[in-house]
Symmetry: none
């Protein structure tokens, strides 16, 4: 009905409001420190709503992590059908740049980064499914690209090590930001800076990959 339409545009349903509020609060304070009162107040909902809709704080958290993934994926699709005519070198640069952009995006996408950082320090049961459904596909896509760059028949081990060398250089800027900002006060993560960062990481890694290509195994 038209009425429904009006309602759905004016006032988001409670469940959705809770997800939004919880995403922000969990990202900022972590699972433990976040209080459902805080979340509910922000969502304009009753404290009991969380238990009604998500069966408790833990259930809400699990749903939030899935929701954050969904939002991030929608905004920065990782499965971009890249132009087939691109060289693998160019493709790597695009991958690195996209990765960095995602890590330093604002809004709902930022939740994911913060939530995942917290998961690294204190994994919950949700991490299992996140790795399986989200991270593994990305990992395999990157490995496929690296194999093209490594040529011949690189060992599984070598591909993994190279993959981690590439990924680690991207994640570092997100993960160690508190130290970076204290160590190099001028360091920023503007659009232009991210582009320079992507260029460095790509060049550095391509050289490393070429070196690895020569090695046996």
């Amino acid at each position: 009905m038209a009425q429904d339409k009006v309602k759905s545009t004016l006032e988001e349903p409670t469940r959705q409001q809770l997800l939004e509020a919880a995403g922000a609060v969990f990202a900022e304070h972590g699972f433990r420190a976040a209080t459902i009162r805080q979340i509910c107040q922000r969502a304009g909902a009753n404290v009991a709503a969380v238990n009604y809709h998500f069966d408790g704080k833990a259930g809400l958290y699990a749903e939030v992590l899935r929701y954050a993934h969904h939002c991030a994926e929608e905004r920065h699709p990782t499965g971009v059908a890249l132009d087939k005519s691109l060289t693998p070198e160019r493709e790597l640069e695009l991958f690195v740049h996209a990765f960095l952009q995602r890590l330093f995006d604002e809004g709902r996408t930022a939740w994911l980064g913060k939530l995942m950082s917290r998961e690294m320090v204190e994994p919950t049961t949700v991490l299992d499914s996140v790795v399986e459904e989200q991270i593994k596909p990305n990992s395999q896509r990157l490995q496929h690209l690296l194999r093209r760059l490594l040529g011949a028949r690189p060992s599984v081990e070598r591909v993994r090590l190279c993959e981690m060398s590439v990924v680690s250089q991207c994640l570092f800027y997100h993960h160690c930001r508190p130290v970076i900002s204290r160590l190099f006060p001028g360091f920023d993560f503007s659009t232009a800076a991210l582009r320079r960062l992507a260029a460095h990481i790509t060049q550095f890694s391509l050289a490393g990959l070429r070196r690895a290509k020569k090695e046996r195994v």
Copy 2:
């Protein structure tokens, strides 16, 4: 009394016991989730002891972080006077290997890694002094080494980027361990594995550095 003397030699003083207990508990559960009762029980002390000796939970935490640094430094001195006859390439490998060993050490040294990981996610005021007193000296020592490898007059920016490329590859294995163990179940961090890891990171990075050496700026 004589009795007191005996006690102080046989049992560690309460203050020390608290530091030890708190280190383990904070590392395992984090600042928030750790409870004073848990720490005091482990230390065989009264619940009020923390407030008495450290003026509250926060004070104890700050002291623990300093203590953990002290212990780690004692066990894995970073300022080792390396043999001057070593090539910078060999020196880099030794640095990387030592870094990895420290990250995957057990015991009190492990606290530091875990505590620092938590600081990355939720920095406290203690981080400022830790960066200044502990991390910055290490950073400069590494930059000095990298300048020898980059030759000519690399820009400050370039040295920093290369430094982070090297460091990130080491930290990654510690920081993302929960994902690695889920993604690559066989992956281990035995002594032998750490040596292979150090070799890969060094070779990969040396190639990247040589590439960077050719670039201007």
Copy 3:
């Protein structure tokens, strides 16, 4: 609609389903501990159904108690027109046996016993009408029988005391079951056991009644 008709013949109406479910749940958990959700889930009804049909939890409870009486009465009619040719001694045995059977029956009849036990500990307003409509008639029937056994003109007081001596011996096995099963682990309440129990209580009581018959007052 025809569909409704089918539904109403195949499935019990919601109201009835709620009574059945509530009977079981109240008997098992008591008024306070029983939850409306538990009852409604068991009845396959909505959480609001109880308020709709019975105007709240208390209203449902009152209705359940009446319903349980109705069911128990249907199954073990207490007003059985006993064969006039029976001796009062034999009649007493039949009464005692029937009472015990009712107390240890299963199914809906069991609800009543459990609910009444709970009423003894924490009487509700419903107890007034239950005593008036259900217990008093039974009491008077038993008193009539006892007067035949006591002969002459026993005082009201004496009849009452004898009545309670008889009834108490029956109720005890139901009421103190938790202690009995702990004190005498082998004690059971099988059909045969109930018959032996009835025999003992009857003989014991008949002796007591004969003794009372001799007393004045």
Copy 4:
């Protein structure tokens, strides 16, 4: 110190206050319905005191049951060394009278009766130890007396049945009080009434016992 003495007479220690308050509240409302706020307010203590001293509501309840037993035992010792010159008949009357007095005593002793009634309806784990430590000894003392009255060699079963016939007649007045007061409004439990009650139960039971003595087995 004198000061301690003053304190201990003027203000009871918190733990004791809690036991007193909890005894009254648990007896009146039952374990579930009783709230620790209610108890703590009555005891003039903080809500956290219950967790501190008794490790939660359940722990407090267990302790209260033990405390109530202790108080009842102190006030109505069951192990009274009866005059050896008494006949078993007279001894039975004293036992029955003492039992009734205990059941209808006021104050702390009343708690025990109410708490035990509730345990019959909804046994907790505490019941096990209560039966073992409190009820079983009493049971055996009564059985010893009954054997003297039954003479010869009565079967275990017969002694048990007679024991329960005696005990049930006493407990009934306590347990079914709500029904009794509705059925026989004039019935009271004054000191005089309890004496008459004891006389009736004793005479009634002695006749039953003499009858049982004649039976085989």
